[in-house]
């Protein structure tokens, strides 16, 4: 028998050699726990994220845009499924994870606690929220846990498509009538800062970062990813004539990056802890869907059992 210490050493050696960890491999408990937390949080985010976008499906302004949005939200549901499956390879089941979401024990991306107020918000979500998600997810395609990395590869392909669609909505609106332009700018104003918060707290305040980097669950820090996102997005905003709502935003020749103003971390922690504009509404909707669906799930099981019993009797 190898001691835990030896096992851990071998485990770290594998990670250092870029060998993926697979479900049946030995792994430290804390690694397993971190992954379950992160993957399920990610799955919950996909599912809760269906709500703010779903809010505009019935009001999409053209049939083409309705189809695109429906297909997009369907993709999010699909991502939720892959991710729940990836989490299940770590020995938890989906029911448990959903229970944790509904009781508030598990978190989901805080960004979905903001409301979608106009059609431009659908553009802003695609462009900024999916954009920020992609920065994070591209990194996760190389994460050390095999099933998670493979789920992310599929997800990334679809997300970059979503981002282009979101940007297209913003572009059309930014170049449209004065009212559309105003909606587009307003959406950018409201979604910009919450999007930057999506990368998580600054590196010196992030409790998980150091260990996650060592295990190669994460491969870049929150601040690095945030900077990459800002640098890319500023140019995209300029291209369509929208203004990033940050008076301190300025190109820094020496750093070769944009400097940006202070992020309101107080708001971030308030929203995470349940005080965002839509936290209660989102959870109410999820719990309601789950509870109202209980009779359907029960009936489906009862029917399957009846069928099986008949088959056995025959």
């Amino acid at each position: 028998m190898l001691s835990n210490e030896q096992l851990e050493k071998e485990f770290q050696a594998k990670i250092d050699a870029e060998i993926k960890i697979e479900p049946k491999d030995w792994m430290p408990d804390a690694y397993r726990k971190t992954l379950i937390r992160q993957i399920s949080q990610h799955a919950h985010s996909e599912v809760v994220g269906m709500l703010p976008e779903g809010n505009w499906i019935t009001r999409a302004p053209s049939l083409r845009s309705k189809v695109i949005l429906l297909a997009k939200v369907q993709d999010e549901a699909g991502h939720g499924l892959y991710l729940y499956s990836a989490a299940e390879t770590l020995g938890v089941d989906r029911e448990e994870l959903i229970e944790e979401l509904h009781t508030g024990k598990a978190k989901y991306s805080s960004i979905f606690n903001y409301p979608t107020l106009t059609w431009a918000d659908i553009g802003a979500i695609g462009w900024l929220v999916d954009g920020a998600a992609i920065a994070n997810q591209v990194m996760l395609c190389r994460t050390s846990y095999g099933p998670y990395a493979r789920a992310m590869v599929r997800i990334c392909k679809e997300e970059s498509f979503h981002q282009r669609q979101g940007y297209e909505i913003m572009m059309k609106m930014a170049q449209g009538t004065p009212e559309q332009r105003q909606m587009a700018q307003d959406a950018l104003n409201r979604w910009w800062w919450p999007s930057l918060m999506m990368f998580g707290p600054p590196d010196d305040k992030s409790i998980h970062t150091a260990q996650s980097l060592k295990w190669k669950i994460k491969r870049q820090t929150n601040d690095e990813l945030r900077q990459e996102f800002i640098d890319k997005t500023v140019k995209q905003a300029e291209f369509i004539g929208l203004t990033i709502p940050d008076p301190d935003l300025k190109w820094n020749e020496e750093r070769q990056h944009y400097d940006y103003g202070p992020i309101n971390w107080e708001e971030f922690y308030q929203v995470i802890n349940g005080n965002g504009p839509c936290n209660r509404q989102r959870m109410r909707d999820r719990i309601k869907a789950h509870e109202e669906g209980a009779w359907v799930r029960e009936a489906a099981i009862a029917y399957a059992e009846k069928k099986q019993a008949k088959k056995n009797a025959a």
Binding site: K66, V67, K172, G176, A300
Partner: protein, 252 residues
């Protein structure tokens, strides 16, 4: 009424059926009983909206006045919509939605099966393309009606209620009017009597397997095909058409 007018009406009926039931299905998005079924229902909603786009585009071509799919979807009022009343009925619970789907899908399936051989090329082409999707819709909704009808006591009762509530909207599907007559004579449209028999067989078979009972009433509501709707359609349109109505000059 000439053939061109009848054709336009016919395409609007097909397009509006798909558009309105697709819209109803899309209201479920994110609220289904389990993630897999959320995905399945969005899929069906997508099929319907896709079919609606084809039919409404064809309607515009037949009319020849430059109206687009969006002009038809977003710039007509309720009395100009030609969908069957059953398609605009509210989602209710999951069972109500699946029962509504089942009763309509069965009709829609037999209708498209005939229309794929229509003498009108445009109609035949859309029908043939849609039929594959509708085939899946009937299979899906039939299975759910059976599963829930023969599931638990609770689900059985909910499905019987759903059937009782929706039954009065089924008769309209087979009511032929001048449009149907004219296009049937031209071998363009479908024979609704023929569909009625096939519909009856499939519906009775499934309802029977689901251990449910067909309501005895033979009094049916009608008017959707002629633009006389239930109270629900006005609200669907108020929501659906809001942006193009509020900002008529905008391109989205």
């Amino acid at each position: 009424m000439n053939i061109q007018e009848a054709l336009l009406e016919y395409c609007l009926r097909l397009g509006d059926n798909s558009l309105i039931i697709g819209h109803r299905m899309s209201e479920w998005c994110g609220h289904g009983p389990i993630l897999e079924q959320d995905i399945a229902l969005i899929n069906i909603a997508l099929d319907h909206i896709g079919q609606a786009r084809n039919w409404l585009t064809l309607a515009g071509e037949i009319e020849g006045k430059g109206r687009t799919e969006d002009d038809f979807a977003y710039k007509r009022d309720a009395h100009q919509f030609r969908n069957l009343l059953i398609t605009e009925q509210p989602n209710g619970n999951w069972g109500d939605t699946l029962m509504r789907g089942f009763l309509f899908d069965t009709f829609n399936f037999y209708l498209h099966q005939i229309l794929q051989h229509s003498k009108h090329e445009g109609i035949a082409a859309i029908a043939e393309k849609s039929l594959k999707e509708i085939n899946y819709h009937v299979k899906y909704s039939s299975e759910w009606v059976i599963r829930l009808g023969d599931g638990t006591e609770v689900s059985h009762q909910k499905m019987q209620d759903a059937l009782d509530n929706l039954w009065m909207f089924t008769g309209e599907m087979f009511e032929a009017d001048e449009v149907d007559q004219l296009l049937l004579e031209e071998s363009i449209g479908a024979d609704l009597q023929q569909i009625k028999e096939a519909w009856n067989d499939h519906v009775r078979e499934v309802i029977d397997e689901a251990t449910l009972k067909i309501p005895e009433s033979n009094w049916f509501q009608k008017g959707g095909k002629q633009g006389r709707h239930t109270e629900y359609l006005g609200y669907i349109l108020a929501e659906m058409q809001f942006l193009p109505r509020a900002y008529p000059d905008a391109v989205w």
